[in-house]
């Protein structure tokens, strides 16, 4: 039986699909019985989803214009 500590160390392997069938079974068996580890996995997922939604800075208009000039030169 996997311990909570061991499960926490395997979360990325699990999310990356890098486990064998048996390893995955063991992982999911523990998850099914342990709400703390379910909470932990949920926190990891929220963290990852949030990182994927960070606001992105936009390009300064003058740089955009400069690059467009370059593009026009390149076209010729």
């Amino acid at each position: 039986m996997l311990t909570c500590k061991e499960l926490a160390a395997l979360v990325t392997d699990y999310l990356e699909g890098r486990q064998s069938f048996l390893e995955r079974m063991r992982f999911e068996l523990h998850l099914g019985m342990c709400r703390h580890c379910r909470a932990y996995l949920q926190q990891m997922r929220t963290t990852i989803d949030t990182l994927g939604n960070l606001p992105e800075e936009s390009i300064p208009p003058e740089m955009s214009k400069q690059l467009l000039d370059r593009f026009r030169d390149w076209k010729r």
Binding site: T3, C4, E16, L51, G52, S58, L68, F71
Partner: protein, 217 residues
């Protein structure tokens, strides 16, 4: 960019991408502006992983756009446009980092160190390996809720900044920019196993920072 306009994994679909590249090659200015606006922010973020100042990062990104234009006729679409552009930037930024003597920070890419760096503070577990201080349910439990608060955004940025350079690079490309594992290995020239170790350590620390913040607020 707002949360609602979040980037999709791997950018746009490849048929659309091919069409986009064709429009660029045909000199379509609207297509060029679209690409520049879409990738400028991510490129600046990525360049800042390698170089020390914002001014240098902007310079490297400008150079990258010029190189993209030069390379475009030969772009074969074997990789996604985004990871192709990131690859060009990585080469330029690394050259720049060598000149600035900042490459040591990235030695971890080839050797993440085998010293045990646990994802969770060992004190949170009993000697039997069960949780003694179990994680709870976060009040802000979705990206939308988290990013609504300027404090949580600052917590994430701070946690990212505190990561070792190689962990920050992998987490940025994988989790922030949505490249897949193979693309990150290619762009950063890192092995699949090391990529996964660095990703695990980096994102675990960001989670821990958010958990501390959630416990305080």
């Amino acid at each position: 960019m707002t949360v609602a306009q979040a980037q999709t994994t791997n950018g746009i679909a490849s048929t659309d991408e091919r069409a986009l590249v064709n429009r660029l090659l045909a000199g379509d200015e609207a297509a060029f502006t679209y690409v520049v606006e879409r990738y400028h922010g991510p490129l600046i973020r990525f360049a800042l992983l390698f170089v020390a100042t914002r001014a240098v990062a902007e310079e490297v990104v400008q150079d990258t756009w010029v190189a993209v234009l030069h390379g475009l006729p030969a772009f074969e679409g074997r990789s996604a446009l985004k990871s192709w552009i990131f690859g060009i930037l990585a080469n330029r930024a690394k050259t720049r980092a060598v000149r600035e003597k900042r490459t040591i920070a990235f030695s971890e890419l080839s050797a993440p160190g085998d010293e045990d760096e646990p994802a969770v503070d060992p004190d949170r577990f009993t000697s039997a390996g069960g949780w003694s201080a179990p994680p709870g349910r976060w009040e802000q439990d979705t990206p939308e809720k988290l990013l609504l608060h300027r404090e949580s955004l600052a917590v994430i940025e701070k946690a990212m900044a505190a990561l070792p350079a190689s962990q920050r690079a992998v987490v940025t490309l994988r989790d922030v920019e949505g490249l897949d594992a193979a693309e990150v290995c290619n762009v950063l020239d890192v092995s699949e196993t090391n990529q996964r170790v660095l990703l695990h350590r980096g994102r675990s620390k960001v989670r821990a920072a958010l958990e501390r913040y959630m416990a305080e607020s």
